[in-house]
């Protein structure tokens, strides 16, 4: 493990987040987790979508591809397939990752590339000023749901387990130490790893506040006998909401190969390092012969 200091990740761009925003502790935890794991900024590529949370990589010193709304995961997959030596981390919000990018979310889960997906879930649309999101609780009142939402909220934890994700976790922006631990575990996990972060939006979400989460969350690590590798137990934990909300690694499947580990072409090493003509020069004429 190389020696990496937190200052290497120090960004220069001024934040546009509101004072007290849950994104601040998330940013700190992401940096701390990378430092703890001894991963240097140039080894990391982060992708993000659009939204308050998706600005997170701007506020670090790191390689970043800031894509469009909902599209962080496929860009990340392309990067990982081109060079699987990168540590790839995608940052999305809830509308970004579970709404407009919902299809990519499902398919990335089942595809299992070695990507860490941090979803900053504030249960509301912040950047567009307070409309309901796919994770807004039923009955939640916003500018576009003045009578309260009448759609059942997406359960990202259950959805990820059902879709075949190999690492499904939740943490809370109000518990920075826990957050750093979970993010570090997610980065270390070989395969797709979801970190759903309960992130208070201090401006637009007056329901799901720091206090609201604090009253309900409990650490799974402290729950005796809980085994994240038990898919059935994980499924039951995934259903808990409102009264008690579990945080920690909810589900982990160990040993399933990642997508890139199974790709024949990548057995020769990262695609970007395979060069251009050397390997194919002698064989390429065969392609023409085969068409005679």
């Amino acid at each position: 493990m190389s020696n990496v200091s937190l200052s290497e990740y120090q960004g220069i761009e001024a934040s546009t987040w509101c004072t007290g925003c849950g994104d601040f502790p998330i940013l700190k935890s992401v940096k701390e987790a990378l430092v703890q794991l001894g991963i240097a900024p140039h080894q990391v590529v982060m992708t993000s979508g659009i939204g308050c949370g998706s600005k997170l990589p701007h506020y670090m010193r790191v390689n970043e591809f800031n894509s469009v709304h909902g599209r962080a995961l496929p860009v990340a997959t392309g990067l990982k397939l081109a060079n699987h030596e990168y540590t790839v981390i995608s940052i999305t919000g809830d509308g970004d990752g579970y709404g407009i990018g919902g299809n990519h979310f499902i398919h990335t889960c089942r595809r299992n590339p070695d990507i860490t997906h941090i979803a900053e879930n504030n249960q509301v649309y912040g950047l567009t000023k307070g409309q309901y999101s796919p994770t807004s609780d039923l009955g939640y009142i916003t500018t576009t749901s003045p009578e309260g939402t009448i759609e059942f909220a997406i359960n990202p934890i259950a959805l990820a387990i059902a879709a075949g994700a190999t690492f499904v976790s939740r943490t809370s922006a109000g518990d920075p130490k826990h957050m750093t631990e979970v993010i570090a575990k997610a980065i270390q996990h070989k395969g797709y790893a979801l970190v759903d972060v309960l992130q208070p939006c201090v401006t637009f979400n007056k329901k799901n506040t720091y206090a609201w989460y604090k009253q309900r969350t409990y650490r799974l690590e402290e729950e005796k006998g809980y085994n994240p590798q038990d898919r059935h137990a994980a499924w039951l934990k995934a259903q808990e909401w409102e009264e008690r909300i579990p945080i920690g690694v909810i589900y982990q499947e160990v040993g399933r190969p990642t997508y890139e580990e199974q790709v024949t072409v990548l057995k020769q090493g990262p695609l970007v390092k395979q060069g251009f003509n050397g390997r194919i020069k002698d064989d390429i004429e065969l392609l023409k012969e085969a068409l005679v």
């Binding site: 970043e64 990340a76 997959t77 081109a82 990519h104 194919i280 004429e285 005679v292």
Partner: protein, 586 residues
């Protein structure tokens, strides 16, 4: 040796083996040194419906199909009703003896009828009814007096995996049909096919395969796509050959994901492409703009089919030129190539990557269903892998990055507009890019001055790119009375029309556009000014190239010949629309 130019159609229901037997015949002809053009016409369904495969075989090089039909192999009655009007005098129909149709009306038009016991022979040979197509091909070889051994070779090859017994049955069947047809009908049928000795070895391939070969040769190592007719054969071909040539293919959940993965892989320094049709391209539009804003070099193949919306899913059109030119919000540089023949498809396959990396922008290769699927014979040497240049533009290698003195700026403002490009992974070049407007470092900005500088920097790249765009290809008479103008897949039809007009004593030429954007107006304008009478031929309703010419040169073409029925433009179609011009000349 006698010259020949013969068109044969095999028509029947989907599932009757129309396409596979037709393509088998094409191979048998090509291996006999004959120039062949083959295209299929099918409905958007797996079973039933009416399909045909069309083979044009000639002693001279071919670039397109022809509508004049010489021999029809009718596997059902619909084949006759569909094509009887296309048969030339002295042409013939081979059909199963029990087929009911109005034979007298055909005879009255001088068409020969060759009833054959196709189904009976199939049963007798131990094959089933479906193998009547093999018998029909055997009979066609018989009446045209082509070399039976050529078709026998293809039968052996095609049925090998089904076992020796099946090979034997099919060979016996083809031979019997050949013998009967030759003995009974060959004498009366005047259109003959001869193998040509001493011809060079030729490939038989379609436009999508040619694009793939160019792409592989050009260093494409990543291709993501979502299946959509007529682009699917690109991901299929690259998947089949990817392991051998180091191309990673990825079928995605949708076209949005396909272009995004392509962008991700390209950002990581791998030559990457995606391929789709208009409907899938519609989904890619947002990400296309992102590639423009982030200056990511990607290649997108857009194989057009007839729209709008689902349109005619298995039919051709050139309806998307204006769409790909303007797709996505805002203004950003893009390059559009519209190859018009297999050689140009091959060229576009590798050149697109050079252009994408040199100008750090999306490159769209615009083709269509007709060109994607139609096969033609091409000499092996026409695709020369050793001559493909790999130009990666301002890409910084590790040594260059090691020497970097100051912070790397991904979007550095330069005179050419092209910024030195790093790929993530080097300690001295930790950088970001974003779909938001940004400064040189890739940080999001909103101030007017930086915005202007960045817009101007990006758009400036086109000033340089346009110099690389080729003038339209001129073919035919130097001092032409009539100039046919077109782009993309109409190349063959235009070229042959020019030949036919010149043969009739009219001076004609063609201007064919492959490089469409940035529009090479300085090269185009003098050519147009020389033209006396301009006819723009396009496979769309509005004349999108004609509009483009008017917009960028101020020149209005004299006439537009437009086809939007989903069928490919042919020489006969063009000539029918030039009757007045030809009459005036005479």
């Amino acid at each position: 040796m006698a010259t020949f130019d013969v068109t044969i159609k095999i028509g029947g229901e989907a599932g009757q083996g129309v396409e596979s037997s037709g393509f088998g015949f094409v191979k048998a002809l090509s291996r006999g040194g004959v120039f062949v053009f083959g295209n299929s016409d099918y409905m958007s369904r797996i079973r039933g419906g009416y399909n045909f495969y069309q083979i044009r075989a000639s002693s001279e090089p071919l670039f397109c199909h022809a509508d004049e039909l010489h021999l029809l192999l009718a596997l059902n009655d619909q084949a006759i009703s569909e094509h009887k009007s296309e048969l030339v005098k002295g042409g013939a129909v081979i059909y199963n003896e029990d087929l009911k149709f109005d034979a007298d009306s055909l005879r009255a038009k001088g068409i020969l009828l060759f009833p054959m016991p196709l189904v009976k022979l199939a049963y007798e040979a131990g094959a089933d009814r479906i193998m009547a197509n093999t018998a029909a091909i055997g009979a066609a070889v018989g009446v045209t007096e082509y070399d039976f051994e050529r078709i026998a070779d293809v039968i052996r090859e095609n049925f090998k995996r089904k076992g020796e017994k099946v090979v034997e049955n099919n060979l016996k069947l083809a031979r019997q049909a050949y013998d009967i047809a030759k003995e009974k009908y060959a004498k009366s049928f005047k259109f003959k096919l001869n193998s040509i000795s001493g011809a060079p070895k030729r490939m038989v391939l379609h436009g999508n395969q040619a694009i793939c070969l160019g792409a592989i040769g050009g260093g494409c190592r990543f291709m993501a796509g979502y299946p959509m007719t007529p682009a699917s054969t690109i991901i299929e071909y690259l998947s089949a050959n990817g392991n051998q040539f180091g191309v990673l293919t990825k079928q995605t959940e949708d076209e949005i994901s396909a272009i995004l993965m392509t962008i991700g892989a390209a950002h990581a320094g791998v030559r990457s492409m995606t391929a789709t049709s208009g409907g899938g391209f519609s989904l890619m539009v947002e990400a296309l703009g992102m590639a423009g804003c982030t200056e990511t070099p990607i290649v997108v193949v857009e194989a057009q089919r007839a729209g709008p919306s689902t349109g005619l899913p298995t039919r051709t059109e050139q309806g998307d030129l204006e769409f790909v030119l303007r797709a996505s919000q805002g203004e950003f540089p893009r390059i559009i190539l519209a190859p018009g023949n297999l050689e140009q498809c091959f060229e576009a396959g590798w050149r697109a990557f050079n252009l994408a990396e040199k100008y750090q922008c999306p490159v769209i290769v615009l083709t269509d269903l007709y060109q994607s699927a139609a096969v033609r014979t091409v000499e092996l040497k026409a695709f020369d892998f050793t001559k493909i240049p790999i130009e990666r533009g301002t890409l910084l290698d590790e040594a260059a990055l090691d020497k970097l003195a100051s912070d790397y700026k991904r979007h550095a403002i330069t005179e050419s507009g092209i910024s030195p490009r790093a790929i993530p992974g080097h300690p001295k070049a930790v950088f970001m890019t974003t779909s938001d407007e940004h400064d040189e470092q890739g940080h999001i900005i909103e101030d007017a001055a930086t915005r202007n500088k960045m817009m101007e920097k990006r758009m400036r790249k086109l000033d340089l790119a346009v110099e690389e765009m080729s003038a339209p290809q001129v073919y035919g008479s130097k001092k032409a009375e009539i100039t046919l103008i077109g782009w993309g897949s109409t190349y063959g039809a235009l070229r042959e029309t020019v030949d036919r007009l010149n043969k009739e004593g009219m001076q004609a030429n063609m201007l064919h556009f492959m490089d469409l954007w940035p529009f090479p107006e300085e090269k185009v304008t003098p050519l147009l000014k020389e033209a006396k009478y301009m006819v723009c031929v396009e496979g769309n309703y509005t004349g999108q190239l004609a509009n483009m010419i008017r917009t960028y040169t101020g020149i209005q073409v004299d006439k537009r010949v437009l086809r939007y029925d989903g069928r490919p433009v042919s020489p006969k179609f063009i000539l029918e629309h030039l009757k007045d011009e030809v009459r005036l000349h005479v």
